[in-house]
């Protein structure tokens, strides 16, 4: 004594810079040479949260727009949203600080804050692209005012396309389809198809509309013809008659994120949507993976006994499901044998898409895929990025293919 003080690492809190929160992600990327791997994150939520007043400026109905700025003490914060309380439980009551929303400062930049935050996450995790999804709008399909879904979704889509995406080509988005109004969903596709950074369209799964309803056939035909995928993004719903019985967030979250996609995917397959729209690519987002082999087995088992109720199908339900895409997060990795079996069941080397879900509480870093002991190198590269490149027609720089070959 005295001795030179070593570098001290502070407690991570709600305002910590993403680069510091994810510093270990950066270290993992360097250790694994992930700069030599093309990585696409097919589920990021650095979205509209915290920027809602900015989104509200894109409302097209001036009466609604002016009314929006009477909310939040005149700031427009939270205007017209139908958030459920569940969203604020995600951080386990302060135990996971970033889950309350990234509150870090971004001084010194004229760019929209989501662009700065996205760049930080992409740089930390060695990502080439991030595909964006909303946060609070994941509940919007349950809005009691049907027309409000159309108005808010259009404002959100415009905010992304006009205000955010033009700044950063690595940012992509699947735009919100106001699915409760099929005509408005069709108009959304017509209006935004081909816009820079728009790589697909999204159905938020927390809603009570059956996806096989005849009113949606034109929506699916338009997407099939355009060659862009449709995604079904799960979310929680603590207000459904079943989930109301669950007294802990862990219980509701574990079931609810799967339940909506279980219902939608069952309707999708049994009503023969893959037969009606064979070229339409579907992505099932943020339900984890363990539910997929469960549903495959259930549907195959009953299909063979009740074929008369699914006459459009020519093959086992699981065979159609093997041709769909799934995002990886939150990947249940506590039992490697089961996970390996799941990867085999869903044809993961060709159909699985890495997803971080950053900055949500159960996000996965790329090493969660990279380190899986049963994957070969090509499967790892496919899942981390090349499957997404094929699905979204994203350009893969030649250097990656060369590096992989070496």
């Amino acid at each position: 004594m005295p001795q030179p003080a070593p570098q001290e690492l502070p407690e991570i809190g709600p305002r910590t810079n993403s680069l510091d929160i994810l510093a270990h992600g950066r270290q993992q990327a360097i250790k694994r040479n992930l700069q030599n791997t093309f990585i696409v994150d097919v589920d990021s939520h650095i979205g509209e949260s915290g920027h809602w007043p900015e989104v509200m400026k894109f409302l097209e109905n001036d009466a609604t727009r002016e009314a929006a700025f009477t909310f939040g003490g005149g700031t427009g914060q939270g205007a017209f949203l139908n958030d459920m309380p569940g969203l604020q439980w995600q951080g386990v009551h302060g135990r996971i600080p970033h889950a309350a929303g990234l509150k870090e400062p971004v001084e010194g930049s004229d760019l929209p804050k989501p662009v700065v935050l996205s760049r930080r996450a992409m740089d930390a995790l060695s990502l080439d692209y991030q595909v964006f999804f909303p946060n609070g709008l994941l509940f919007l399909g349950m809005h009691p005012v049907k027309e409000m879904e159309v108005e808010l979704a259009t404002a959100y889509n415009r905010w992304l396309v006009e205000h955010v995406l033009p700044h950063e080509p690595r940012m992509q988005a699947m735009l919100y389809l106001p699915f409760n109004s099929p005509a408005a969903a069709e108009a959304t596709i017509k209006r935004f198809l081909g816009a820079r950074g728009v790589c697909g369209f999204l159905v938020t799964s927390t809603r009570y509309q059956p996806v096989h309803a005849n009113e949606y056939m034109r929506v699916y035909a338009m997407l099939e013809e355009a060659g862009v995928p449709i995604g079904f993004h799960a979310h929680h719903n603590w207000h459904n008659e079943y989930t109301k019985q669950l007294n802990r967030f862990i219980s509701m979250h574990a079931l609810s994120f799967v339940l909506s996609n279980l219902v939608h995917l069952t309707n999708w397959v049994i009503n023969g949507m893959p037969v009606r729209f064979p070229k339409l690519k579907t992505i099932w987002i943020e339900s984890g993976l363990a539910w997929v082999p469960f549903l495959m087995q259930r549907l195959d088992h009953e299909y063979l006994m009740r074929r008369s109720e699914a006459p459009l199908l020519k093959r086992l339900p699981s065979e159609y499901m093997r041709e769909m895409f799934y995002t990886s997060q939150p990947m249940e990795a506590q039992n490697m044998k089961l996970l390996e079996g799941t990867f085999e069941a869903i044809d993961a080397p060709n159909q699985l898409l890495y997803a971080s879900d950053w900055p949500h509480w159960d996000f996965d870093v790329p090493s969660a895929i990279w380190d899986l002991p049963f994957l070969n190198d090509q499967a790892r590269r496919n899942i981390l990025g090349l499957n997404a490149a094929r699905l979204f027609n994203l350009p893969v720089p030649a250097r990656y293919r060369q590096m992989a070959a070496e």
Partner: protein, 123 residues
């Protein structure tokens, strides 16, 4: 085993901690029950910076004599560190995950000499 300097002994009071990076290693040193514990700042789950997370009491669910729930309450005397990435929660005394014993933090030897705290690292 190489030793690296962490802090003056007075810099980590009871219930306190210091997380340092040196020689390519990150270590969190905590003082609890008057004893120093050193844990590697790497969560066994996905490698998050566990020692930089919140330090707080654990909780318990209390039951009455008829095993009816009395709700969730802080557990007196407990002290946990919680990985800020995903909430994996570890007992600072043992380094064990509070819900599954076999998930453990990696420990480092700690020593105190001449009023200074050191931790041992391989390398």
């Amino acid at each position: 085993m190489k030793e690296i300097f962490v802090a003056a002994e007075a810099d980590i009071p009871e219930g306190g901690r210091k997380v340092i990076a040196a020689e390519g290693v990150e270590v969190g040193v905590f003082r609890i029950d008057g004893t120093l514990k050193a844990w590697r700042n790497e969560c066994p789950h996905q490698g998050g910076p566990v020692c930089q997370g919140r330090v707080m009491k654990g909780v318990e669910e209390r039951l009455d004599d008829e095993r009816r729930s009395l709700g969730i309450h802080y557990k007196d005397g407990s002290l946990h560190v919680i990985c800020p990435w995903h909430g994996y929660e570890f007992d600072i005394r043992t380094g064990r995950h509070t819900g599954l014993d076999r998930i453990r933090l990696s420990s480092h030897p700690v020593s105190v000499r001449d009023g200074a705290i050191y931790v041992g690292i391989h390398g």
